[in-house]
């Protein structure tokens, strides 16, 4: 079967769940080869990729690939596409990987599809557009299809692959070195699952009322093993860090379960969570638009409802 390149997402040497999803998806359509870009590659990473079906692993683990914005990774993928002539390139639909996909598309003169939620035979991609209102099937008509797939769209299945390593050296061009990352600032994150990858997300909005009160959202999240999200009103107020914002200009999440507490459900917020499988809303205003989306909703004060829910979840464990 034909080779499909899968760009690996990793933090601190750990392969992210979305990569395992992409490998699972790629296996159904061809033979996946993982592409590791940047430092941090390890035997553990190799094992994890192989366990999920990577037949080959191309490793370009020089720091160079990581020290400049996006462009070196696009060069790496372009080089691999010309050497290996794969049937497709899969990346995660994260902000950065979509940019890599965009630059790659121009380099190899190929079409790119973003925010894909499924890929069928013949590399036909399913997309959900206009905030979930319309489902589209689309395909690339020129070049090697580049597909950016949303996290949580594919259930992970393990299946052994050979995991044959191949070192790749990239000569990062001068142009690709033109935007240099001089400092990386990490805002604390804690032990919770990552927002875009989490199966359950509990988000708080303006209704939470203060930074301190976000602890009730965190407690509910922890009882469910969930990630914490926030509306823009909450991040703008400084109650919760920006990187947890869900919505059009924050993260797009598609968890199995999304719980919105004290969030009105503005269109920009909905754009980031509308594809969640199950939606629960807690809001004191019965007219809040979030209830239009909710599979289950409680009209009430989150200060009462959320702690009670946390207790009940703990009791039923």
């Amino acid at each position: 079967m034909s080779e499909i390149l899968v760009l690996v997402e990793h933090v601190e040497g750990q392969v992210k769940k979305v990569t395992l999803e992409l490998l699972t998806l790629a296996r159904k359509l061809g033979t996946p080869s993982a592409v590791w870009a940047g430092p941090g590659y390890s035997p553990e990473a190799k094992a994890r990729l192989a366990e999920h079906g990577a037949e080959k692993i191309y490793v370009a683990d020089s720091a160079d690939v990581n020290d400049y914005v996006v462009a070196p990774k696009a060069e790496l993928l372009a080089q691999l596409v010309s050497e290996k002539s794969p049937a497709a390139v899969f990346v995660a639909a994260t902000a950065e990987a979509k940019e890599i996909a965009g630059r790659l598309a121009i380099k190899i003169d190929s079409g790119v599809l973003t925010d894909v939620v499924g890929v069928e035979d013949g590399l036909v991609a399913d997309q959900s557009i206009f905030g979930g209102g319309v489902n589209v099937r689309s395909r690339v008509t020129k070049g090697t299809p580049i597909v950016a797939v949303r996290p949580n769209a594919t259930p992970v299945e393990a299946a052994a692959g050979a995991g044959a390593e191949e070192q790749v050296s990239v000569a990062v061009s001068e142009t690709a070195r033109s935007a240099r990352i001089v400092e990386r600032v990490k805002e604390e994150k804690g032990a919770r699952p990552e927002l875009t990858e989490a199966a359950i997300v509990v988000s708080g909005g303006r209704g939470v009322g203060s930074a301190e009160n976000f602890s009730i959202i965190e407690k509910l999240a922890d009882s469910l093993g969930a990630a914490v999200g926030a509306s823009r009103a909450a991040t703008d107020a400084g109650w919760y860090p920006h990187q947890f914002q869900v919505g059009q200009t924050g993260k797009t999440v598609s968890p199995q379960l999304y719980i919105a507490a004290g969030i009105s459900g503005a269109i920009q917020h909905r754009a980031g969570m509308q594809t969640a499988k199950t939606i629960v809303a807690i809001n004191k205003d019965p007219e809040a638009p979030i209830f239009e989306l909710a599979d289950f909703g409680v009209v009430g004060d989150l200060n009462q409802v959320v702690p009670q829910l946390t207790d009940e979840v703990a009791k039923r464990k």
Binding site: E99, S178, T249, T278, L293
Partner: protein, 267 residues
């Protein structure tokens, strides 16, 4: 500094948005056209950079005739002039085609800095700024929540340096480059100004240059629906979400929610 800000007209997200049944492109007549929200932040940032360092702000839009409303809005906010790329040959261009057409135009009109929104509310590809940087061979400074330009960049063509904070999953990266460059902004960067009455009046007199495909030296075989790199095979309205159960909290709202979660096997 010669700043070009790319703005896009999009259908109002508050109205029902549709694809056309004939050619499966966005139905721009079905909904009111408004300026893409993030483009307002791009215009604001361009204006602030001009106010701090001098120079000129040019609005660049590719879109049908009615996109001129969006241009007026950006001019009313304070931009100096505009270029409207308008040609039937451009209809249905995908991100590759759009980035090619905009890049050709930018090469023609010249720039020290190009400012974009990081994403539009209709296409939501979020790739355009990266594609422009690639096509123009200039530094990509995208997803900025802060932009600093060194004052030595004040005169057009004099180069100068630029630094941004690039929003990431874990926080932000500080990125440095020299001009010319492409920047895209996130909405945390500023608070866009409302056009004043004076601004609205003044906008009516500001120059708007209309360019067609040939004027901008755009190869027509690289743009438009027929030449796109991807196509919509088919589409359908998403099945409506089944109406949910909404209960009023009578002191047992949390417990009822837990019952619901249990019924769905989440607990």
């Amino acid at each position: 500094m010669n700043i070009v800000v790319c703005v896009k007209q999009v259908p109002d997200t508050a109205t029902e948005r549709k694809l056309r049944s004939d050619d499966k492109t966005l139905d721009r007549d079905a909904a009111d056209g408004v300026i893409n929200e993030l483009c307002e932040y791009a215009v604001e940032e361009a204006l602030r950079l001009k106010e701090a360092h001098g120079g000129e702000v040019t609005v660049l839009t590719m879109g049908p005739d009615k996109a001129s409303d969006t241009i007026r809005k950006a001019l009313a906010m304070g931009a100096d002039k505009a270029v409207h790329l308008v040609d039937d040959a451009l209809h249905g261009s995908d991100a590759l085609g759009t980035s090619y057409a905009l890049a050709q135009t930018l090469k023609k009109i010249g720039f020290d800095l190009v400012v974009l929104g990081s994403e539009s509310t209709d296409a939501r590809t979020g790739v355009l700024a990266a594609m422009l940087a690639e096509r123009l061979g200039v530094p990509q400074l995208t997803f900025a929540n802060k932009v600093e330009v060194d004052p030595s960049a004040a005169k057009a063509g004099s180069g100068g340096s630029i630094a941004i904070q690039r929003v990431t999953d874990y926080g932000y990266d500080r990125v440095e480059a020299s001009l010319p460059a492409v920047v895209s902004v996130v909405e945390k960067i500023n608070e866009p100004r409302y056009p004043s009455f004076k601004g609205i009046m003044a906008a009516k007199k500001k120059p708007v240059e209309k360019l067609g495909v040939a004027d901008a030296e755009i190869d027509a075989s690289q743009v438009g629906l027929a030449n796109s790199w991807s196509e919509v095979a088919d589409f359908a309205a998403a099945p409506p979400r089944a109406a949910g159960t909404i209960v009023k909290d009578e002191g047992d709202g949390g417990a009822k929610t837990a019952d619901f979660l249990a019924s769905k096997k989440f607990v």
